[in-house]
Symmetry: C2
Subunit: 160 residues, 2 copies
């Protein structure tokens, strides 16, 4: 049997602009597989590296660092409802990714990029148990309200 | 080898009150396993049934309904950062749950409860592709800021 056809269209210019704005938010919800093999969720700080690849800073004390190391596929939700209206009508980007802990020699560069966007992280960025983790995009679904969805490839996610 | 001891303490009265307030929010992020077996994430509308069991209303057109039916274990994130401060210092509840689609004969009662909390859902609550799904709690982690975590059992999650 052929695979089902995805009914979700690729993004138009407006959808790409909206996705870029959501990729510049400073936090996200992270869906990952926990140490026990079950779905888990955490709030994470969110940023981009110099090449625009999603990045987070995680403490080894948080359960998601071990989870992502054992099972790199994960998903992020970017975008929050405002105080008014149906929460399901507010735009959000669901990004599927593969997590990879960064090498220690990248730390000085990533630290500067991170603190420019997350100045309050200076309180803990240098703690030994914190690590920068890249979240390499696989694909994404933008939902800009009922009936307004687009499916992004990694190419679509890059800056236009 | 004995299982590792969970260093996260049980909730005190203040933590229980905070968790109850987060359980009364109207939306959440849902971590689930997608049809392809990989972690996925969606925003969902959130409510409680008459017995205080978490409840959501999902369209069959949304990928998470099929995902939850195939793989009921899931996790929810309740609570959002405000516009100021480090997003990781704002309280949130990470609830692990098992999803179960409700029976059709419960629909009239759940519909009334749902619309009382989500009046804008009257636009679609009666569409044939929408289903109420209970999210039966398994356990929860409340993170009320750095170093302020508590682990909730299902008993702890019930109204005090």
């Amino acid at each position: 049997m052929p695979p089902p056809i995805d009914p979700t269209p690729p993004p138009n210019a407006e959808a790409k602009t909206l996705a870029q704005s959501l990729l510049h938010l400073r936090h996200a919800a992270l869906s990952y597989i926990g140490a026990d093999g079950l779905p888990a969720i955490s709030r994470i700080a969110f940023g981009l590296d110099a090449a625009g690849v999603p990045l987070t800073l995680i403490s080894a004390l948080a359960p998601h660092l071990a989870g992502l190391q054992a099972h790199p596929p994960c998903a992020l939700l970017l975008g929050e409802p405002g105080p008014k209206g149906d929460p399901l009508t507010h735009p959000r980007l669901m990004l599927r990714a593969k997590a990879m802990v960064t090498a220690p020699d990248e730390r000085p560069v990533l630290r500067e990029i991170w603190l420019a966007r997350h100045p309050k992280a200076k309180l803990y960025v240098d703690f030994a148990d914190f690590a920068f983790v890249r979240l390499h995009p696989v694909d994404a679904l933008l939902n800009a309200g009922f009936g307004k969805a687009s499916r992004f490839t990694t190419d679509d996610l890059r800056n236009p």
